[in-house]
């Protein structure tokens, strides 16, 4: 006795009586995905971004089934998600649907095209110490100079530096003097600045330097200075490699007597370096949204 299937279509060369579901092209016994919409969107990462998202409204009023892809910078199309989440994962794409939209996005574990680090080494010229640095004037009007070093500076050789900021930590303000510090900032002109186990103060300076006149806020704050040209000069060195160490000299340039700041390496706030480099990048997402309801 024939069964009433409604409709059943077997694939070419397969029997309509086959019990193997793979042999069927369609059957009213089994539903199929019903296409709703196919959308493409683009997000742009600018240096410093940690995520970007794009939404596609589907107007279904329920959560639909969907498939999402993203295209990487090499033009390869990847399903979202592409792999399981390991514990050491850095960046990942994601996609979800709710009752209103499908949203696709990309998260970066570290800000896109941005290095940010705290000083790993310091040098106090007067003390010959690596416990921290001081810069300014002692009570006898002699200069207090120092140096800072940052390791694992993850900026590619030759990259265009959009901005570089040295954030000098004011852990302590010392002395009875008043007024602004006047500090010359110079890069240590080396491919990979060695640590400060030996006195770094005589190392070759970059051609580009900066003179900062800094009114002092309260201790616990930072003094910020743009050092873009200094950093660009170091990054542009033929021998520079991403991950190398970078150092700077902080030299009193005629500030007031008996006024100096101190930043100790092991305690409290620490001097920081933030570098933004390179161009924006775009990520293209595509989603196929079905009418099939999941929630």
């Amino acid at each position: 006795m024939a069964k009433d299937y409604g409709l059943k279509i077997a694939k070419s060369d397969k029997s309509i009586e086959s019990t193997d579901k793979r042999d069927l092209l369609a059957s009213s016994q089994y539903s199929m995905f019903k296409y709703h919409m196919d959308v493409i969107g683009t997000v742009t990462f600018t240096p410093g971004d940690t995520y970007q998202e794009v939404s596609f409204d589907h107007n279904l009023g329920y959560v639909p089934a969907f498939i999402a892809y993203y295209k990487d910078t090499a033009g390869k199309l990847h399903f979202i998600p592409s792999h399981r989440k390991p514990t050491d994962f850095l960046n990942w794409p994601y996609a979800y649907a709710d009752r209103v939209k499908v949203k696709c996005g990309y998260i970066t574990a570290t800000p896109y095209n941005q290095y940010s680090g705290s000083m790993s080494h310091a040098y106090d010229e007067a003390m010959g110490s690596t416990a921290g640095f001081r810069v300014g004037k002692f009570s006898d009007d002699t200069a207090r100079n120092g140096a800072v070093r940052f390791t694992s500076v993850s900026v590619p050789q030759g990259a265009t530096i959009n901005s570089a900021t040295l954030r000098v930590a004011i852990e302590f303000i010392i002395g009875d003097g008043s007024g602004s510090l006047i500090v010359k900032i110079a890069g240590i002109d080396e491919d990979n600045t060695a640590d400060f186990s030996s006195n770094p103060m005589g190392r070759t300076q970059t051609t580009n330097t900066d003179i900062a006149e800094w009114p002092l806020p309260a201790a616990g704050n930072y003094l910020e200075r743009s050092i873009t040209t200094i950093v660009q000069e170091i990054i542009s060195r033929a021998g520079w490699s991403s991950g190398n160490a970078m150092g700077f000299l902080l030299l009193d340039a005629g500030g007031p007597n008996d006024r100096r700041i101190e930043d100790d390496l092991a305690t409290g706030i620490n001097t920081q370096l933030v570098i933004s480099y390179g161009d924006n990048t775009t990520v293209i997402f595509r989603a196929i949204i079905f009418k099939n309801k999941i929630a």
Binding site: K11, L25, M32, R84, K85, Y94, Y96, A97, A295
Partner: protein, 135 residues
């Protein structure tokens, strides 16, 4: 001379003579994805994952072959945001304590494994088991 296609249905506005597979609703020259199994009553399912626990949901299909599957999960309970596959949480859900450590099928079952790094939570999921071989 006409070809014996069996059946061919083209989308509205497209030509029945089109060479573009994407313009067909169904065409016996091309395979199609059949939904063999969804959750009962086409309603999402809920699994409780206890404190710092791992739970594997086993969904029998008994197709005798390893099927293609699609899985959707509401990674952060109550948000209404459903992720597909073995999901990686989006920006809004980075505080979720739930992640999916695995999803795979064999000839008998679909297996979904959820890991909870926090307090007990009910996790909603939905699946499609498709009538086409994944292997």
């Amino acid at each position: 001379m006409t070809k014996d296609y069996g059946i061919k249905v083209v989308a509205t506005g497209k030509l029945i003579t089109s060479d573009e597979p994407r313009e067909y609703i169904i065409n016996s020259e091309f395979g199609s994805v059949k939904i063999i199994q969804e959750p009962p009553n086409q309603a999402y399912q809920v699994v409780t994952v206890g404190d710092s626990a791992t739970v594997t949901v086993t969904i029998p299909h008994k197709l005798g072959f390893i099927p293609l599957c699609m899985v959707f999960t509401e990674l952060k309970s109550g948000t209404g945001r459903w992720y597909n596959g073995i999901p990686l949480e989006g920006f809004e859900d980075q505080t979720t304590t739930i992640y999916m450590s695995d999803a795979y099928a064999d000839k008998d079952n679909l297996y979904l494994t959820y890991v909870n790094t926090g307090s007990s939570v009910d996790v909603k999921y939905y699946y499609y088991i498709l009538g086409d071989a994944g292997s």
